[in-house]
Amino acid sequence: MVGVHSMIFQTPMQKLIPIIAFFVLVFSADARELTSGHAERMKAGLELFQATIRPALVESCLKCHGDEKVRSGFDISSRELLLKGGDSGDAIDLAKPKSSFLLGLIKHEEEPEMPPKKDKLADTLIADFQKWIELGAPYDKPLLEKKEGKPGAMRVTDSDREFWSFKRLANAVPPTIESDWATTEIDQFVFAKLRGNNLAPNPPATNQARIRRAYLDMIGLPPTPEQLKAAHSMNHAELVDELLASPHYGERWARHWLDAARFAESHGFEQDYDRKFAYHYRDFVIKALNADMPWDQFVQYQLAGDEIAPDDPLAMMATGFLGAGVFPTQLTEKEFESARYDELDDMAATTGTAMLGLTIGCARCHDHKFDPIPVKDYYRFVSTFTTTIRSEIDIDLDPEGYKEALTKWEVGHADLVAEKSAYESKPEVIKAFNDWLKSDAASLVSASDWTTLEATEAISSQSATMLTTQADGAILATGKTPAKETYTVKANTQLKEIRQVRIEALTDPSMKRKGPGRAGNGNFALSNFKVLSVNAEDKKQPLKLVSAEATHQQNTSNLSVASSFDSNPDGTGWAVDAGGIGKDQAAVFKLEKPLQIEKGTTLQFELRFANNGQHSLGKFRLSVSGSEKPPVVVGGGQSDSLNSAMGAMLTGILLPEHRKTFFAYFAKSDVGWKKVDAAVQQSLAGKPQPSMTKVQVTSEGFPPTKHHADGRGFPHFYPKTHFLNRGDPNQKLGVAESGYLQVLMRNDKTTSDWQKAPPKDWDRTSHRRLGLANWMTDTENGAGHLLARVAVNRIWHHHFGRGIVATPNDFGLQGTLATHPELLDYLAQRLITNGWSIKALHRDILLSATWQQSSAASPEKAAIDPINEFLWRFTPRRLEAEIVRDSILAAAGQLDPKMYGPGTLDENQQRRSIYFMIKRSRLVPMMQIFDQPEPLASQGSRPSTTIAPQALLFMNNAQVVKWARALAASVSAENPDDAIRELYLRTLTREPSSAELQDSRAFIKTQSASYNEAKDSRQLALADLCQVLFSLNEFVYLP
């Protein structure tokens, strides 16, 4: 058996196989044919075949069992094949005709019922089938001419595209009805269906129930007494709009999509490492819903946001979708490839179920057993994700905010610069400078072996670091220190020959312990240092370094200055701890051969910091020397410009650049200049930086998220995806190119019609996913209509507890049929017409009389429709895990409304439950107990169980007790009746009845008496009452 095989299908038939096999062995069909009367039986059988059986087989069976498909491996096109049976074993039992599996299927006694999704065949016809089998199931000739091609290979045809969910949306017109009850077009559809089933809808719910229901349904929190009061004075439409505008709306509804997206924040499997930056995807879903992002864009962003809008942080965050599945973190070489195919399967399967309600994953080992998805379509679909991997990248989540801040800063900064230059132009300053030139300037000169370089360019490989050049030639690093980076510095020099290079590592108050490094202890580690000469044609020539000396080095081995140009570029390097922190340091490197500087030659220096996290240099200066043995010291260098300025002074002709050079030396002692300069420097230090945040994305071309098996050479992806035999990576059948599902392509379009080559300047990703996103949302020729059907059904499902299609994740043959197919198409069409606005859909639903009707039970109606599929009432149902907990927090006044950001596993946290971190091995017990599903594969609907551990939680859970006490403490205990009224309002959104008031009052009295030892006995009793209110059916059920 293949390890990756996960398709499980079997029919109840299988248990019968041994029995049938037994009988066939004993009484073979041939034996029967020797009995007397054979000829008559044969004749009668053939007559029956021609009269009723053949037409029935051709009409109802042949298409899927012999002609276009051979579903379940069962082919009825000839007698021979019929008797051969299918994947489920024999279909015809000639020895015991009545036990034939085929009869069970058409009688709807066995599953799958045949013909599928259609009425049962007429009883007379079924009787004919039985008779015919008793007569030996004869054929006069095969039902088909000789078949061509490989038997069993699935072809997708136009008739497959006519299956109800693959069809184009019908132009559904609301039926005309006679009723005062209906207020919207939705109601017309619902009412007509109710009437057709001899049912009548319930009257409207009470205002109190309607308001409470609206709050819980739309934002997942009960109304506060104030909100309740305000809601009573609004009309229903105003209330709905207010709730749709609440930021809590996204927090409630995002959770449903997270179930469908199998979202979690850890890898699963053996170590279950955290995915620390995965929460951005959750935030994306909340933000997108709150902003009413059109659903087609919502879907596109999740598939290819990085290709559609790489500069939009939301689009990047959205790509978390594809990579949210489980992935093993400990892999052996033998598992590399199959693990990758599993990962691709997870992406494809989740995309299929969540967006299209299609179980694409079922076609991994063979053609889909039920839906028109050939195995080839599966591998083409999977191939779309071939190079798609999980990465963690730095993103500015607020580019607009950054731009705004920068513009504001630039205006202020320009003023300061202007002020400074105005000061420098003041006549008295110029006079003082001229005096200084005459008297003091000459004393600056002292011949030095070191020429300080003035950088023409200094950048870090990481955008978080900003390098700025100081007046003295030093370069200062600011910004958030990245884990690893490389500084690249370019400079010119007027020297003719260079033999030695010096790095001064300088202290600065901006660093911990003054540096000179940016690490937490002030250290740095220069893991690799390169010097290159660049000629006029931009040709780069690395210069070999042969030896080095430093004023201090941390050790003489892996942290020595020599190790900064050894063969290990990242693992070793010059560091200065063990006595060198907080002091200026210098290292001098000798070139193998003196470098002759020709015209146009420039120098490039690369300083890499990679052998320890955040160990970059904070401030440094580069110098060069033509001397054989210049001193290994800090300082004492002078710049080229000072050299030439001094030369000019000797000639007596100072050019403006010479004056500028000297001015810097003069200014050092000018109090007024220092003041204006300080203002400029301070402003520079405050220059806004893009605020970079680590985000988990699923994309191509970024470095993969670190993996345990990297050390074993895990490749993260393979450049090609292959067709596999039976899903086995060891049985490759050729390369699969990216493609989409044929059954959802119309008008002779092919995959390439949706694909677009990336722009010329774009090579990071393949744009395969962009093509997928285009196809997915194409309402003309692609999957758009199914996408819309599935989307509206999900929303409907969560409003009513049951979708129009009761299997939100399966719109294929195995899924259930729509209870209101016209309504589904009507809503889907309306979704598209409304620009894919989900909020408009919510509004339509909430304004309907269907949604507003009461939830009152009715035995008469339940007798006709026990599970309320036709919506004769609003189905009361238990609140979901998150809403139960959030409602308790909200009622107790303990809810922390902070949105977004990293989650937590702490059950004491007071933010909404959607902000629990979802760690696969440590799911939050309170969520689990109320049926939050395990985030392993897409979930379309949650079960709703009622189990004793839930009761235990209400009775004994530490948080519940704590929040009950908080609620009790927030009301005045002075007058018990007032307190009870207030508590009822806060928890149940209503006043207590007089009986309830009386029972509660009596309880408080007895309960506080029993706490007579405690000094806050009344408070304890009130808290116990609060706990009872939290536990009531009314509190945890949607009214």
Binding site: M1, K15, T359, R878, T945, A948, A951
Partner: protein, 461 residues
């Protein structure tokens, strides 16, 4: 779909449970929905002693005299990627332990099981087990859920989904892990997860410290009478329920109240008389922790718990049976931790008449190689191609062996037993046909045994 689904941990809301994915609509309302062909199972409960980390079959139950002869030789043609470490493959290595015949049946048993050896006449050995992964976590998932992937329901979940539980006051499916801070088995809770089955069927992991089950203890400030008053008030304020589901919810509080006393009683092994504790080895230094778990397991099945799983050992390497280094020391230690407790469990179950309807399983996620793994003291690496597992009680024939490994214990050779076959056999003993226990999810009908599995009939009594 199974008609008898339900009754997990005090489950009472069956109707709403079935409503998931439209099951109720599609099936329960349909009188023709297929029903499972149940038969009377021999076992009512399962106690699965999970020998975590991969016990070495050739050093425990699978005696290989041939291996002694080839000790020290290279194994020609050996695929170095068979185990986990491809760069420390050593030569063939005989078992460091002596084997001797035990019981009436004369089964050759390693000297590390002095006590357990006394019970071989109760055990049926499967020597030809094989699995699909050479790596702990996938192999654990395989052994627990039938597939080497995360996210499928485990055997205990399937069993309780199929049969419910006979205990209303205790979880239907209980899991105990290493209490000595050596970690959880690799993949942790996913090993007893319900996957796509309703979460009510997941294993209840007993916390090794403090209250074993969440929320089982009344708040400290509250007396029993005070809590009862709360429940009385709740009943009054809830009023007459208008739906069966709401009524079930009211009942769940009554059940919860009873559980508060019933469950701690069941977990309190100090109520056991000294002589019983003694046969399990309670109080013995090296095995006290496992003895307590085995005794707890007996108390659980006695009270109708359907499925109990106990993990011997924590995570990997020296923290479990994962003897990469020093197989001799490692296996001596873990055998020492479990020998007396498991022997005691078998003895106690038998003397109470519980063994006949309690299926006891001993086994890990894979076997170990007959080669040595180079190390300071030689160890053995993972072997997915062969392992030994045994079953006892619950309608299993005693003193028999099924299947064989090859002469050196490298591959399963005769009557190979896939993990699916072992699962099929477990379900069969519980009275479930593994092909008929299915669950429809996202358009597929899933089973524990995927498309495989055959009951290992020769070991059935």
């Amino acid at each position: 779909m199974l008609q008898r689904a339900g009754a997990g941990f005090g489950s009472v809301g069956l109707a709403s449970l079935l409503a998931q994915e439209g099951l109720l609509g599609a099936n329960a309302a349909d009188p023709h929905a297929p029903k499972i062909a149940h038969f009377d199972g021999k076992a009512k409960s399962v106690i699965w002693l999970f020998i975590n980390g991969g016990p070495s079959h050739v050093d425990t139950w699978d005696y290989k005299p041939e291996l002694e002869k080839v000790d020290g030789q290279e194994l020609e043609g050996f695929d170095k990627q068979t185990g986990f470490f491809s760069n420390s493959v050593g030569p063939l290595m005989k078992s460091p332990f002596e084997f001797m015949p035990r019981g009436q049946c004369g089964k050759m048993v390693s000297s590390i099981f002095p006590k357990l050896g006394e019970h071989v006449d109760k055990m049926a050995f499967i020597h030809s087990g094989y699995t699909e992964s050479n790596n702990h976590s996938p192999a654990l998932f395989m052994m627990n859920s039938g597939q080497p992937r995360m996210g499928l329901p485990c055997v205990g979940s399937w069993a309780t989904y199929g049969l419910g539980s006979e205990s209303r006051d205790l979880p239907a499916f209980v899991v105990m892990s290493d209490p000595l801070d050596r970690g959880l088995p690799k993949g942790s809770a996913a090993n007893w997860g319900a996957g796509f089955l309703p979460s009510v069927y997941q294993g209840t992991w007993l916390k090794p410290k403090g209250d074993p089950i969440e929320n089982l203890t009344r708040p400290g400030h509250m007396s029993s009478a005070q809590q009862e008053r709360q429940l009385d008030l709740m009943k009054k304020l809830n009023g007459a329920p208008r739906d069966a589901e709401l009524e079930a919810r009211i009942k769940s509080f009554e059940l919860a109240y009873r559980m508060q006393s019933a469950a701690p009683e069941a977990f309190d092994i100090d109520r056991e008389p000294e002589h019983i504790k003694k046969i399990y080895g309670v109080g013995k230094k090296n095995c006290d922790h496992f003895a307590r778990q085995c005794l707890t397991a007996r108390r659980m099945v006695e009270r109708g718990v359907r499925f109990v799983q106990i993990y011997s050992g924590g995570m990997e390497n020296q923290r479990s049976w994962d003897g990469h280094n020093d197989i001799q020391g490692n296996h001596s230690q873990f055998a020492g931790e479990t020998d007396t407790p498991i022997a005691g469990l078998l003895e106690d179950l038998e003397q109470r008449g519980l063994l006949k309807d309690t299926l006891v399983i001993w086994g890990g996620e894979f076997g170990r190689l007959p080669l040595s793994q180079k190390s300071k003291k030689p160890g053995r690496d993972h072997n997915p191609h062969c392992f030994t597992t045994w079953m006892a009680g619950g309608g299993i024939k005693g003193g028999v062996s099924y299947g064989e490994s090859d002469e050196i214990g490298h591959h399963a050779a005769v009557d190979k037993a896939h993990v699916n076959d072992i699962h099929a056999t477990i379900l069969h003993q519980l009275g479930i046909n593994h092909e008929d226990l299915t669950y429809e999810y996202n358009g597929r009908r899933f089973r524990l045994t995927d498309v495989g599995g055959k009951v290992i009939k020769p070991i059935l009594a």
